[in-house]
């Protein structure tokens, strides 16, 4: 390995599909029961992007609308954040943004991407496209589907490339 791995954390409200996104993308090393017991599940993934190959260590933190002390502990040392929202539930986007703000206060200039999940249920989305367009002005936003895999790989590649650029 020519460089060190980067730690990223998945944050988002309960039921937005964080674990499904990770399960779609990475090799599952640990059981999901850790999410309910320990509150976090860690996996890793080598991501190929325009700048090369990066190793991501993905901390899937149990879904909550706000970070408690333990979750704040889990955030330590993270280089990137992946905020996940459920397109069919508009409040989850607000929770994701709140979590982003909270995490940014704990971390030093982390790379962030926002994933609006469940694009396969686009007809039931509550989040308006205009809202996402406005959001894209400050943070990269990806519409994803854990069910079909759409947008998932692109989101991770983007975050990996962003982390690579920070080096």
């Amino acid at each position: 390995m020519s460089e060190f791995a980067r730690k990223i954390c998945l944050l988002g409200d309960f039921g937005v599909g964080k674990t499904s996104l990770v399960g779609r993308y990475v090799r599952n090393t640990f059981s999901e029961k850790y999410l309910t017991t320990v509150g976090v599940k860690v996996d890793s993934k080598e991501v190929a992007h325009a700048g090369g190959v990066s190793k991501l260590v993905i901390w899937d933190i149990a879904g909550k609308s706000a970070l408690d002390h333990l979750n704040q502990t889990y955030l330590r040392g993270a280089s990137g954040l992946m905020l996940v929202a459920d397109g069919t539930r508009e409040p989850t986007l607000r929770s994701a943004l709140y979590l982003m703000m909270q995490a940014k206060s704990l971390l030093q200039d982390p790379a962030c991407v926002v994933l609006v999940n469940k694009i396969d249920l686009i007809d039931r989305w509550e989040i308006l496209p205009s809202t996402l367009n406005e959001l894209r002005k400050t943070v990269p936003v990806f519409e994803t589907s854990a069910l079909s895999g759409d947008g998932v790989e692109a989101a991770f590649e983007h975050l990996a490339a962003e982390l690579r650029r920070q080096t």
Partner: protein
Amino acid sequence: MNDFDRLKHLLLEAEQRRLDGLEQGRAQLSDDLPKLIGQAQQDHPVALAAALAHPVAEALGGAVQARKQQLVDALFPVIMPAIRRSIAEYLRAVSQDLNQIFESSLTWRGLKWRLEARRLGVSYATVALRHSLLYQVDHLFLIQRESGLILDRESVAGLPDLDADAVAGMLTAIGDFVRDSVGAGEAELSSATVGEHLLWVLRGPRANLAALIRGVPPESLKQELIVRLERVHEQYGDQLGVGPEELGSLPGLKEALTPSDLKAIRAEAQVEPSLRPVMLATIGITVLVLAAGVLIWQWQQRVANLVAGLDQTPGLEVTDVSSLPWWSISLQVLRDPLAPVVLPLVQSRLPEHVGVSVREQAIVSAEPAMVLERMRRRLDLPESLTSNITSDRLVLTGTVSPELWRALHSRAQDLAGGVVLDLTGVQADWPAALASLGPWPKDVTASSDGIRTSLSGVASHSWIESVRVLHGRQGWSDLLDLSQLVADRSEELARINRTLRGKSVSFDQGEAGDGLGLDTLADHLAGLLPALESGGLRVRVVCLGLSDPSGAETDNRRLERERAEWLCRGLSARLGNRPDSLWQLVEAPLDLATLRQRAALVQLEWIDPP
């Protein structure tokens, strides 16, 4: 200055001066405080300590709360060696306890370890622990404490692939979870059991060292790992805490983070599967197999030699052998009645503890030695005869008595089985048979034509006569031919002559005259001569005249001649006409010259002696 100020100056000047003095003292307090504390330490140390105890404790408490990490960084290198020494002392005490326990054991393994400890010059407990605590460090992770990212990892080759980054992250998360939820922010997850692995997490200020160990590691391994972790912090302490982007920007850091001594401890911890027990077992089994093989081979050689010996014994033939090596043997043997008994023969050639079973079956052996023995017994042959059998011919050589010789010849015709008895080498021992007749005449020889023996040569007449008498009495006519024996008459004649000397004729002194005893002598000769001449031989009668020593020699010669002539005439007249056989001797022969007497005598001689 107006009036009011002047009034205030007048009223408050002393007070203002005092306040200025106090302000000046307060300003100099920071400068004087160290000096004052030093002075108080000298003058009133107890009072100073009592005064500062509470505020210092409060200050430390506040510092721990406010600058925890700084205090940890400062105290870690100081505290850890002390803790390590404390643990070492504890382990030493445990080792002593174990030593006492082990020393009380009397197992074979304990004895072996005790010998090894004596040989190596270390304590018994050290050796016992070294043998007992077998372990292997399968995975070793150096984990950044802050992020849970792995800084370095080492794993034993051949193990299943492990997502070390995920594992390190989860270890960190679980550690945080335990510390936050169970330990109330104080306790740390230091060890856990994960399946067959023992997990050790050694905490450092910037990085943790996690080891997944299989087996039972000694406490010394943990001490070694702690020392290595401390060393890593000493060398890279500040760099271990930076973010991964900064870690990646430091060239050579990652390689440097893989300390060689960390690898060394891992290699030291790896206990290679020892092949020694397998080798020892293999060697032991091989030795046993070889020993068993050698014993079986020796037994087979012994049995083979035994069977060969029995087969070479005349009259014995081994037909079947079965044995349990060095335990028992069973033989089936064909045996001629004349052959030795097999059982004692076998028992004498095997160890006493070997059970021997022999089953004999009688046969009449056709082996030459057996046939020969059978013939000897049947013919009752004496030891003087040597025998040999070739093909179907029994050849005897030696000498036997004439009677046995005759018996052998008669029995030879009765032999069964097509065996020919060859007696050409057997001679009748005639010297022994005739030994009773006196010494064997030196000129007599015996020759045989295979059946009859012919004696030839010269022997005394008496010996020959005795032989003839015995020959007739024993009926040896078919065995012994005496026709070639010639009697030696000279001895007989000498004996007769000695008799005739005692029958001399005597004369009166001085004259030849008639002698006395002539008739007696003539009668004697008349009976003697016909017997001597019966074999066709002829005898000459020699007359000798003798004289006494007195008188002249010439006269004595004359008298001797006259007396001899007188005797010849007298005998001739009485014995008839024997002109050719009479002889007159003038002088006495040398052997009669000493007979100086007045007499005449006769001596007989063979004419044409045989």
